[in-house]
């Protein structure tokens, strides 16, 4: 009996060890690989020739085409947030604070994060699926063979477009969200637009707006980079396309929260 127990025990330990090694190994390989990918991005972005036409095209596809989705979501968030907050403020007799409260939370936090998450779902997965299917069908190889640098043409342009477009989309989401909030306030009362927006702008300071906009650049960069990384480094085969799109959304969304957490910590250091 004793040897058997020993064998079982060793086997279980070995399995656990292998399991942990495999998880940590994969994690570190992934992180290292992403770090090299990021370094290559910074190397290629500075090196001519520059792909301005493709950058404009991608900015249009990534930014302009996301306007309706981001706008509708921003409007609904502003409206719902106002309706849900009103009863709580009513209990404390602070309904007059509603526009200010909605404005600060929408502009500082909810607008950028929700826009980032929608962007990760739409653009991150789109880039991941597009690049991985290009890889599977050898289109990236074909580009390389025809004397084009596919990294510069496909990755650099998409990451730059995502970095530039997300702040614009976040501003749009904020603006439309405030419009939704105005309508929400007027569902159970009568507040003029001038009074509502006066309260909104009185409650906001430059230090509310600037960090919120700055962090969206990082959101956009992270989403574009992860989408491109997952697509460009996808395994061949149709399974790889699905995995790339899926993991691009998951990792990009996680990074949005992580960057937001870091941004909030940094901002709070300067504000308090």
């Amino acid at each position: 009996m004793e040897p058997k127990i020993k064998i079982r025990s060793i086997t279980r330990e070995k399995i656990e060890e292998d399991f942990l090694a495999s998880i940590f190994g994969k994690f570190f390989i992934e992180v290292t690989s992403l770090a090299f990918f990021t370094m290559r991005f910074f190397k290629e972005v500075l090196k001519p020739p520059y792909e301005f036409n493709e950058l404009l095209k991608q900015s249009f596809l990534i930014g302009y085409k996301s306007f309706p989705l981001v706008g509708i979501t921003g409007f609904i968030i502003g409206l719902v947030f106002t309706i849900q907050t009103r009863p709580t403020l009513d209990k404390f007799g602070a309904v007059s604070m509603l526009p200010a409260m909605v404005a600060v939370s929408l502009i500082r936090e909810i607008g950028p994060v929700i826009t980032g998450l929608i962007f990760a779902g739409k653009v991150g997965s789109g880039i991941g699926a597009e690049l991985s299917s290009m890889k599977v069908t050898e289109q990236i190889d074909a580009m390389q063979v025809s004397g084009t640098n596919p990294f510069k043409f496909l990755v650099v342009t998409r990451v730059l477009a995502a970095t530039m477009m997300l702040p614009l989309l976040a501003v749009l989401a904020d603006a439309v969200g405030l419009l939704g909030s105005f309508i929400g306030v007027n569902l159970r009362g009568s507040v003029s637009a001038s009074f509502f927006f006066l309260q909104v702008f009185q409650s906001l300071t430059f230090s509310d707006l600037l960090p919120a906009i700055v962090k969206t650049f990082f959101f956009g960069f992270a989403i574009g980079l992860i989408g491109c990384y997952k697509g460009y480094c996808a395994n061949t085969g149709t399974e790889g396309v699905g995995k790339a799109a899926n993991s691009a959304v998951v990792f990009a969304s996680l990074l949005v929260f992580l960057i937001d957490m870091i941004a909030v910590q940094i901002t709070s250091l300067y504000q308090y």
Partner: protein
């Protein structure tokens, strides 16, 4: 390849010989524990059509991907136009690639672009200052060469398998490469379209004096196009000769390809 690269044997150095466009010496490539190419020694001459035969998975596609630098070899030397590609910088490699055309098995057309844009893409990349008129005339010529003039505004999804292959060929030929690499150009096509593609390969060779490497399992294509045939077995060149010589080989395994 750089660490284990070996110099080309000076006695047989063909870098001085302008008729040699590709020279491989003791080329090896492994993927993990799988030795795909074990010892390839091969010379491709200017204006020559070289057909490569071999069972599936013997490294034929890897071999031509090594030529164009899509795959780095582990050991040995590979010289294109007399330059060892392991010694080339990224920019020099891009310049060398501009002289090489590659027809992928799947044609690898850009799905998001129309037929016209598929042809415009390589032209714009390589000749940034090209005029619109010049580009349109080159596109027209390339499509006429492959009989696809009427499909200029279609998308790749609207084309048949044969048309996709011909478009892939047109996209490659528009840059007038000096070396053409064909990866199973007739696979999945009916015999008539296969014959058309084979004739196109021959026409290209005659018209532009290109050197071609053709990987195929289609014996009719091999018969029509080959100046020279090599057979790869276990990652090594097993036999070399003309189509008829190998067809009448005393080795039953080699003969089996032609039966």
């Amino acid at each position: 390849m750089t660490e284990n690269a070996i110099p080309i044997n000076i006695e047989h150095d063909s870098r001085q010989d302008s008729s040699v466009v590709v020279e491989m010496v003791h080329l090896r490539k492994s993927f993990e524990n799988n030795d795909v190419l074990r010892d390839i020694n091969l010379v491709i001459n200017k204006g020559e059509n070289l057909v490569i035969l071999g069972k599936s998975g013997t490294g034929k596609s890897v071999l031509i991907k090594c030529i164009v630098g899509l795959v780095d070899c582990d050991y040995g030397s590979l010289a294109i136009f007399g330059k060892d590609i392991s010694q080339l910088s990224e920019e020099e490699l891009i310049e060398t690639r501009k002289k090489i055309g590659f027809l992928f098995q799947s044609a690898a057309l850009y799905d998001s672009m129309s037929v016209r844009e598929n042809l415009q893409f390589p032209l714009r990349r390589q000749q940034r200052s090209i005029s619109k008129e010049k580009m349109n005339s080159l596109i027209k010529e390339a499509l006429e060469n492959v009989g696809l003039s009427k499909a200029i505004d279609k998308t790749p999804a609207e084309l048949s398998g044969g048309m996709r292959k011909r478009l892939g060929l047109a996209r490659t030929l528009i840059l007038k490469p000096e070396i053409m690499l064909y990866d199973e150009p007739t696979t999945g096509l009916d015999p008539i379209t296969s014959k058309e593609i084979s004739k196109l390969i021959l026409e290209v060779q005659k018209k532009y004096n290109t050197s071609s490497v053709i990987i195929t399992h289609d014996m009719e294509c091999a018969r029509l196009t080959a100046d020279r045939v090599i057979v790869i077995k276990d990652g090594m060149c097993e036999a070399e000769g003309s189509f008829d010589e190998l067809k009448n080989s005393t080795d039953a395994w080699i003969r089996s390809f032609f039966e």
